[in-house]
């Protein structure tokens, strides 16, 4: 099956995520799709498989233009998308999962268990994996669940299988099995679109690489004719410019130090420190364990081992309240599910982390103190709204993020952890957020900034810590840092 996507455009509201994106898939090849987080890889594939509709551009399959209205239609045409979050029902058995919605029925309309079992076993055998079909899905390892997804694809005679970060949750041996399966599929003429951040895997497995950047097609290379450096350059090649305002800050004493933080299977032996007035950037790929490390420091995730020192003194942090008492603030990765009460007003959201500040000893809230705090926040952070009672749901991403900032800034944190502080925020609001970060640093706040955007990390940080698979791979000073170095560490290379 030959697929050609050309000039694809796609916007969500104001936000254009794809402009002139595309790629060409040849029959029986394994084709890697690469790009930074947010480059548009998944969106492009969702357009191919009918999850989203395209705003512009053409998609042709075997020379005929197509427009799938939904994933089922794409599936009938032989194109199957295996998402990063596996689409399995954990309480059902393997067999029930494989035949969900396509049960084989006998003449009475009842499920034909025998026929289904036979077909399921036959397909699994074709894949060369041994999984009993009556096992409940939740008892299987992630690797095995992945195999079931591939098995599902084969049962509908897929000619093209798209895999989004298939190895993200797999062990090394499971990855090896997956690769064997992919090789055998290729021999049978099935094409694979392989979305991954892992450079070594791609060079081992794939035939060609297509790179997207900022939603635009950059180029396609044959694996034997390229190298990792060239691909990294294609992925990140853009000018940083003056998007990042300079700050004049003298870095002060150590505010936070962590030693040997460990949570098995998530992160191990994490050591680092942050100083007053410093911005420590934390880089790494999605799922590297950055967020989890920060959640643990904030007391929202329990540690197996390790010590946290604040102002040089050992601190016990068992829950977020302890962390706040030690002067730590935390702006979470996901403002919609964790940062905000979306259905509540700006006022109630800002107040929530500042209840002590706006209430008397008996816990009675002073209306005057609250009004003063909230209007000050709205003014100082330029939150665009109708007033303190504006529901957060109806704010733009940037303004929502400013509310989250407001919530924490007025707790007067001495250490502020930012997890993806500008995700889903437009350029204008981004700049404002950068200025807020710089002002805080100038006041002597120690800042840890986790970000998947390399330019942001390079532009804002004094030092850059790179995390890969739960391990700190290196800490680079700003003067010596560049995108290649950070990417190399993040994808498993050494400097």
């Amino acid at each position: 099956m030959q697929i050609e996507m050309k000039g694809i455009d796609k916007s969500f509201g104001q936000n254009q995520v794809l402009k002139n994106a595309g790629f060409v898939l040849a029959p029986g090849e394994v084709h890697a799709l690469m790009g930074e987080n947010g480059a548009g890889k998944s969106t492009l594939m969702k357009i191919l498989t009918g999850v989203y509709t395209r705003d512009g551009g053409t998609v042709t399959v075997d020379g005929k233009e197509v427009l799938y209205k939904n994933p089922q239609e794409a599936e009938r045409a032989g194109i199957v998308f295996i998402h990063q979050e596996l689409n399995v029902l954990f309480d059902l058995t393997v067999e029930e999962n494989l035949f969900l919605g396509k049960e084989i029925r006998n003449r009475l309309g009842m499920c034909n268990q025998k026929a289904m079992r036979k077909k399921a076993e036959a397909t699994l055998e074709k894949l060369g994996v041994q999984i009993p079909v009556d096992r409940v899905m939740s008892e299987l390892s992630v690797g095995q669940q992945q195999m079931i997804e591939i098995c599902k694809a084969l049962m509908v005679d897929a000619r093209v299988i798209i895999m989004d970060e298939p190895t993200a949750a797999l062990t090394q041996s499971e990855t090896a099995v997956l690769f064997e399966v992919i090789q055998s599929l290729r021999k049978k003429g099935v094409s694979i679109v392989y979305i991954s951040h892992r450079m070594e895997e791609i060079f081992e497995l794939c035939d060609r690489i297509t790179v997207l950047r900022d939603g635009t097609y950059i180029g396609t290379k044959k694996i034997p004719e390229t190298n990792m450096n060239e691909i990294v350059k294609m992925m990140i090649g853009r000018e940083i410019g003056e998007r990042y305002p300079k700050r004049e800050v003298t870095i002060g004493r150590e505010m936070l130090r962590v030693e040997g933080l460990t949570k098995k299977g998530v992160f191990e032996d994490v050591n680092f420190s942050v100083h007053a007035g410093e911005v420590l950037g934390v880089s790494g790929l999605m799922g590297a364990g950055r967020t989890e490390i920060m959640q643990a420091i904030f007391g929202n995730l329990s540690l197996e081992r390790g010590d946290i020192y604040i102002d040089g003194r050992k601190a016990t942090i068992k829950n977020p309240l302890h962390a706040m008492e030690h002067g730590i603030g935390f702006i979470t990765e996901d403002r919609k599910t964790e940062g905000l009460m979306l259905e509540e007003s700006i006022k109630n959201n800002i107040s929530l982390a500042n209840l002590g500040r706006i209430s008397g000893r008996a816990g009675v809230i002073s209306k005057a103190a609250e009004d003063e705090l909230v209007s000050k926040a709205i003014e100082e952070l330029h939150i665009k709204c109708f007033g303190p009672f504006h529901e957060c749901n109806n704010l733009s991403g940037g303004n929502q993020q400013k509310v989250v900032f407001a919530k924490w800034i007025y707790t007067n944190p001495r250490i502020l952890i930012l997890d993806e502080p500008t995700r889903g925020v437009d350029i204008g609001a981004k700049k404002e957020i950068y200025s807020i970060i710089n002002e805080l640093a100038a006041k002597g706040v120690a800042i840890i900034m986790v970000s998947s955007e390399l330019p942001e990390i390079l532009g804002m940080s004094d030092r850059i810590m790179v995390v890969r698979e739960g391990l700190i791979r290196g800490i680079i000073a700003q003067e010596e840092a560049n995108q290649e170095k950070v990417m190399t560490l993040a994808t498993g290379g050494t400097l």
Partner: protein
């Protein structure tokens, strides 16, 4: 939809229950001269105090995205123990205070099961509901406890008047004001709403979710015990089946008042209106002479209409 229309709809939502209440009162008043008397109005309010107090506690629980099915059983057990203590010679005033403390403690047990025990609120309180009812039966041996003497305090709670206004009505209004203050003017209130609105966000902002939920269940138990005391005073004896099914009337009042069953949204005055609607229906339909079989159907339909009109557009 244009802005004005939206506004009207919003008002209709906010005041839907109130409008329903007014319409009901007017309708039944026209139909029945008996209904529209001052003395019937006072007795209606007095009848509503039992469900009202329980529903106020229930509102707090539901605001945290939980539920308390055990209130009827808490009421029965605390009342039975109170009556038992009084017949055993404990001064009535002391026995009543102990009954309130016990009610709160029984509520706290549900709260601990929900938080530390990680049981779903529905299941946790289904368990406490069953166990407490069983304990009541064991304690009373299935028979009412009467002969409570003629203690002044005990009589006062249910039968007393203050300037011709029944004490239960005064309690109802006083406690409504306390709840209004707690939920709207204190940090505790903010924590209750935040817990139900988005517990992840609340936890990260330093709210102790477990503590908040346990307190809320304690309050619910306390309110159940208090309304039990009013019943005890009025009936003069503790029945082991007392309070059976009261949780449903309380939940109905909360729902009528527009509180979201998934927490975070709702007003205590809404619950008050809900309580009054149920009381007017009970009282009015009786006076008008509607058969009790039809009464339940009508109550159900009124709740349906109120909840539908309350839906977010």
């Amino acid at each position: 939809m244009n802005e004005n229309k939206k506004k009207v709809l919003n008002y209709a939502q906010d005041f839907g229950a109130l409008i329903a209440l007014v319409v009901l009162i007017l309708g039944i008043s026209i139909a029945s001269p008996e209904f529209r008397t001052w003395s019937n109005f006072l007795s209606l309010l007095r009848q509503s105090s039992i469900n009202g107090l329980i529903a106020f506690g229930m509102t707090c629980v539901i605001l945290t995205d939980a539920i308390d099915l055990s209130v009827g059983s808490v009421l029965a057990l605390s009342t039975a123990l109170c009556a038992g203590m009084i017949t055993a010679g404990v001064p009535a005033g002391l026995a009543m205070i102990l009954a309130l403390v016990l009610g709160a403690a029984l509520g706290v047990v549900s709260g601990v099961l929900v938080t530390k025990g990680r049981l779903q609120p529905f299941i946790a309180t289904l368990i406490t509901m069953t166990v407490y009812r069983g304990l009541t039966m064991i304690f009373t041996n299935g028979k009412p406890i009467s002969n409570l003497g003629d203690s002044f305090v005990l009589k006062l709670v249910g039968k007393g008047n203050f300037y011709h206004i029944p004490i239960p009505v005064i309690l109802l209004i006083l406690i409504f004001l306390i709840f209004f203050f707690l939920l709207n003017k204190t940090t505790f209130g903010r924590r209750v709403y935040a817990t139900g609105s988005n517990w992840k966000s609340a936890k990260l902002a330093g709210v102790n979710i477990h503590k908040t939920k346990i307190i809320v269940y304690g309050i619910s138990g306390l309110m159940a015990a208090l309304s039990g005391l009013i019943l005890l005073s009025r009936l003069g004896s503790a029945q082991p089946t007392l309070g059976d099914g009261y949780e449903l009337d309380a939940i109905a009042a909360v729902a009528l008042g527009g509180t979201s069953m998934s927490g975070g949204r709702g007003k205590i005055y809404g619950t008050f209106i809900g309580v009054l609607i149920i009381a007017v229906l009970n009282n009015g339909l009786n006076i008008v002479g509607v058969s009790s079989y039809y009464q339940d159907v009508i109550k159900g339909l009124v709740i349906l209409v109120a909840v539908l009109s309350d839906r977010k557009r």
